[in-house]
């Protein structure tokens, strides 16, 4: 994935816009998504191709808006970012449509006590429409970012404000009553429920704000952070006054997340922080400290919060009698039920999958959000699951490549940090549902049902697009032949 030896010198081809490449890629994406939609429609009993047609038209229109915005405001942006994001977003809508159809219109689904097939109870009847609306909002934010933020370094001015906004967004649900901020069925308090519109998860945006804030702070202080300080046990520690502000912000955010029982996001957040300090200072000791702190934190939270300890137990022994009692009386807790159903789903998919619309994803609780990857694994098989992972990998690779190419340290740090955060988020949730690591519920970027995650993902793509546009833009040409002061066009 990392491009070898790119160095600071971008290759010649980097100065070409590549918007036509992007367009042809997008046509491919539209074809793929339309095919997936048709596939679902033909597999299910209750075919509704007319609605699918409308969904497709809106989807194509909105993505084309993003494409045109890139042509106008970021012509040198990386040509893969938008198509890859659009593909994931489109497939996510297809899967939510598929899950929405479960138990409706004569399609197979779970059965209630009276023997009647029912839809997935946690998936509202307007889920598909809402997901498309969120896509529109997401692309709207994407375009707005490109229009208003012409130069990424502008963000550096708002380092402290962004930090405050980030902490405020994270803190908000913790101070709201559980009736508004609690997620049903879990101990987490991470959302703001808006009656009729679903809910907002402020932390999704807080992650972006804090990443930008960290980047600004670390760039300003990177020299003192890496040079001044004391050496303790062979590890260089920075001075308190340099490290203080960011450590406070970080600790406050982390504690708030833990108090909101949002372990997954705190893990991503922790990783983001460590990676950014490492990129800024190039000191390996930070990785060691970060890793040690992470392991210690994991153990402490596992001891402090029973539900975190239970996650570890489920991870290690999903089929044990306490985690998955066999045929228990109704009401018995089955902590491993969701994880195991996800695994069964993946196994049911096998190499090539059951085909879209032919699996039984409804067995897995919350399959439309945290466990949507297992639904893809079941219906598209190992081939589809690997393809999705590679798409994520490609987005991350484009982001890291941008970070390598760009000269400005702030932009470099921001691109590197955001790319790593996306990778980490995919690792935490996909690794969690496939039992590579203990499960912590966070959203699957672009795929999961829910607006905040989708909109935040599109903003992330917008930032990367803006950064890559800056990185690949040709250097300003001199407009006079000679002279002491060169006058250049900055467009």
């Amino acid at each position: 994935m990392p491009s070898p030896a790119l160095g600071n010198q971008p290759p010649e081809e980097a100065h070409v816009g590549r918007r036509s490449t992007e367009l042809s890629m997008l046509l491919f994406v539209f074809g793929l998504v339309a095919f997936a939609f048709a596939n679902v429609a033909f597999s299910l009993k209750g075919q509704r191709p007319s609605t699918i047609f409308e969904y497709m038209v809106v989807f194509i229109a909105i993505i084309m808006c993003a494409h045109l915005a890139l042509r106008r405001w970021a012509p040198y942006a990386d040509p893969l970012l938008l198509p890859l994001g659009a593909l994931l977003n489109g497939l996510g809508i297809v899967m939510i449509y598929r899950l929405h159809e479960v138990g409706r219109n004569g399609n197979p689904g779970p059965v209630n006590d009276s023997g009647v097939t029912i839809p997935i109870l946690t998936l509202s009847s307007s889920a598909v429409i809402l997901q498309i609306v969120y896509t529109v909002i997401g692309i709207g934010c994407f375009v707005a970012f490109l229009v208003f933020i012409k130069e990424p370094r502008i963000l550096q001015r708002y380092t402290y404000i962004l930090g405050l906004i980030g902490v405020f967004l994270i803190a908000l649900p913790a101070f709201l009553p559980t009736s508004i901020s609690g997620v049903a069925g879990t101990g987490a308090k991470i959302q703001i429920a808006l009656p009729g519109l679903g809910s907002i998860q402020p932390e999704e945006f807080a992650k972006l704000a804090l990443a930008a804030s960290f980047a600004g702070y670390l760039v300003a202080k990177r020299d003192v952070l890496s040079l001044a300080g004391r050496r303790v046990l062979g590890v260089d520690l920075p001075r308190g006054r340099d490290m203080g502000p960011i450590a406070v912000v970080w600790l406050v955010a982390l504690l708030l997340l833990v108090s909101e029982s949002d372990i997954g996001t705190s893990a991503v957040f922790m990783g983001l922080f460590v990676a950014m300090i490492y990129i800024a200072t190039s000191r390996t000791s930070w990785l060691l400290i970060g890793f040690a702190a992470f392991v210690a934190g994991a153990f402490i939270t596992a001891e402090l919060f029973s539900h975190v300890g239970q996650r570890f137990s489920v991870w290690l022994h999903p089929f044990s009698a306490t985690n998955l009692p066999l045929n228990p009386p109704p009401g018995t807790p089955q902590p491993a039920y969701q994880t195991v159903q996800g695994l069964y789903g993946m196994a049911n998919g096998g190499l090539l999958g059951r085909g879209l619309g032919n699996g039984q994803p409804w067995w897995t609780p919350l399959v439309q959000s945290d466990f949507i990857f297992t639904a893809f694994g079941e219906e598209l098989g190992l081939a589809g699951a690997m393809a999705l992972l590679l798409i994520y990998g490609l987005i991350v690779q484009r982001g890291l490549r941008t970070a390598m190419m760009i000269k400005d340290p702030y932009s470099k740090l921001l691109a590197g940090g955001l790319s790593f955060m996306l990778a980490l988020q995919v690792f935490v949730i996909v690794g969690g549902v496939t039992r590579l690591i203990p499960l912590t519920g966070i959203t699957t970027p672009f795929l999961s049902q829910g607006g905040s995650s989708l909109v935040a993902s599109w903003i992330l793509i917008a930032v990367l697009a803006r950064l890559s546009d800056t990185a690949r833009r040709p250097p300003p040409r001199p407009i006079q032949e000679e002279g002491l002061t060169q006058v250049v066009s900055v467009k």
Partner: protein
């Protein structure tokens, strides 16, 4: 900063590689172990989307079928005459299978590799997948008679019993009944809570109805073991025959011990008097324990053990669809125990299946055919997917010896001194049944004050069609409790052949 970025890129690469390896492991290597886990709702759902194949008897009676339902699983398994056929069919619950349901699960469910091509054709022609039909060797009349016989005598007791009938020339199991039994319909319910409750109730019952007493419960063979002792006697010396005079005292004093071996009621054996000899035929038909105790000591435990093995004892039979326990003949450690083992006591134990195999081997001129239950499996398009060809299990005795034993077994029912003569004279109606009774002292088990009743027989004596083994725990005399069941099974089966 680029150096750090490159390292971060490598970390990202490792993370994605781990994810890729993990999904490969899950979906490439773990699929079968995950989908066969109990309570995998997806696999259960899948299995019940298709119509499971029927199980039929040899005479075409459907004993396990499916009916469409409206719940999550589209088909409900239904068993006809559940308790009668439970040891044969086993059960198919939403979680597990036993018996034939287990042995032929792949074909019954329609997922077997032999059906893959047909399923593919069905998929193309848009026909629903359907399981294959399993046809058993069971004869419904014989099975019904066997179960009825056991129920009449054992109902309301805490004793067990089992009946097995074999076709001596092929080894096909014609009847396999066990008492007490259970209704597999109770376990076929799709309601997990009800299933749990019913299962729990069956597990609480004693004696357990879930054990197939026809093939899993071993009890002492008693005097029926004299078939084995006689076989060994004939095999030891070619001049030995049923007319050979054998030492038959009224009381056999055993060496190395103060124990004495008596005949059943301490009577003398035929014309032998207190300390004389009589013919082997007489001793066999009157079932003189002293004669065979003495013969056993002469032959030695090794010869008896060898012959018992040849009759299929001490062997795991591995019959598809049938759970069996091996019948046992332990090498006796001393002369007195050898004498006891020769008359089916000491530690000898057999299943009703083994009893039927004794008679079947003699009926088939000394060749013992391997018992089998599953005749053939036919796909939904009626093509035969698999069928069982009869095979030889062993040749315990030569045809000559088999003829000798047959002569003696006929005497048991046909001559006045025969232990089953009185009973047979009342039921004969012109049919000659060759048999051997057993009345096994087994009171120490505390189940019943009476001995276990054992009977092994084949009929007709000329050109035999059926061999039956019956054991009724605590039934008393073999001729009184076990023989009537055997005769009713024989009559029921021969009637279907048009012989009676």
């Amino acid at each position: 900063m680029n150096r750090a970025l490159k390292r971060i890129s490598i970390a990202v690469l490792v993370m994605f590689l781990l994810l890729l390896i993990n999904v490969n492991y899950l979906q490439g290597f773990e699929t079968s172990s995950l989908s066969t886990r109990p309570f995998n709702s997806r696999a259960l759902y899948e299995a019940n989307q298709y119509q499971r194949g029927n199980i039929e008897t040899a005479d075409g009676m459907v004993i396990a079928s499916t009916t469409p339902t409206n719940d999550l699983y589209k088909y409900q398994r239904t068993y006809t005459d559940g308790p009668v056929y439970a040891p044969v069919t086993g059960y198919d619950t939403i979680y597990s299978t036993t018996g034939v349901e287990h042995a032929e699960d792949a074909l019954l469910s329609g997922n077997g590799s032999q059906l893959a091509f047909r399923n593919f054709i069905d998929m193309i022609t848009n026909k629903p997948q359907k399981g294959a039909t399993v046809q058993l060797t069971i004869n419904s009349k014989a099975q019904q008679a066997a179960y009825q016989g056991l129920e009449n005598i054992l109902k309301g007791t805490n004793r067990v019993g089992g009946v097995v009938a074999l076709n001596p020339t092929t080894g096909a199991i014609l009847a396999m009944a066990s008492y007490p039994s259970y209704d597999p319909n109770l376990l076929a319910t799709h309601d997990g809570t009800a299933l749990n409750k019913n299962d729990e109730a069956l597990l609480q019952e004693s004696p357990s109805p879930l054990i197939n007493n026809a093939t899993q419960t071993t009890l002492p063979p008693g005097s029926t073991f004299k078939i084995v002792t006689s076989s060994a006697f004939f095999a030891a010396n070619a001049t030995n025959n049923p007319s050979t005079q054998v030492y038959s005292p009224q009381v056999l004093t055993l060496p190395q011990t103060t124990n004495q071996l008596h005949n059943d009621n301490g009577e003398v054996c035929g014309s032998a008097g207190a300390n004389g000899k009589t013919t082997l035929l007489w001793a066999f038909s009157q079932s003189c324990d002293t004669t065979f105790g003495n013969i056993g000591m002469d032959l030695g435990g090794g010869a008896l053990n060898h012959m018992a093995d040849a009759y299929g004892m001490n062997t795991n039979l591995n019959i598809p669809g049938v759970t069996t326990s091996p019948s046992q003949y332990d090498l006796p450690p001393s002369l007195p125990t050898t004498a006891y083992s020769a008359i089916g006591q000491f530690s000898d134990t057999v299943t009703p299946l083994q009893e039927a195999m004794f008679a079947a081997a003699i009926a088939n001129n000394g060749t013992l055919m391997k018992p089998y239950l599953i005749q053939q499996v036919t796909a939904s398009d009626l093509a035969v997917v698999s069928s069982t060809t009869p095979s030889v299990l062993s040749q315990p005795v030569s045809p000559t010896i088999a003829g000798n034993v047959k002569t003696m077994m006929e005497a048991v029912t046909q001559q006045p001194q025969g232990t089953a003569f009185a009973f047979n004279a009342a039921n004969e109606n012109g049919l000659v049944i060759a048999g051997k009774t057993g009345t096994a002292q087994n009171q120490l088990n505390g189940v019943s004050p009476n001995p276990d009743a054992v009977f092994t027989a084949f009929a007709p004596a000329v050109n035999p069609k059926i061999a039956v083994g019956v054991i009724v725990q605590g039934g008393g005399y073999g001729a009184a409790a076990a023989a009537p069941i055997a005769v009713s099974v024989i009559n029921a089966y021969l009637a279907t052949l048009g012989i009676r």
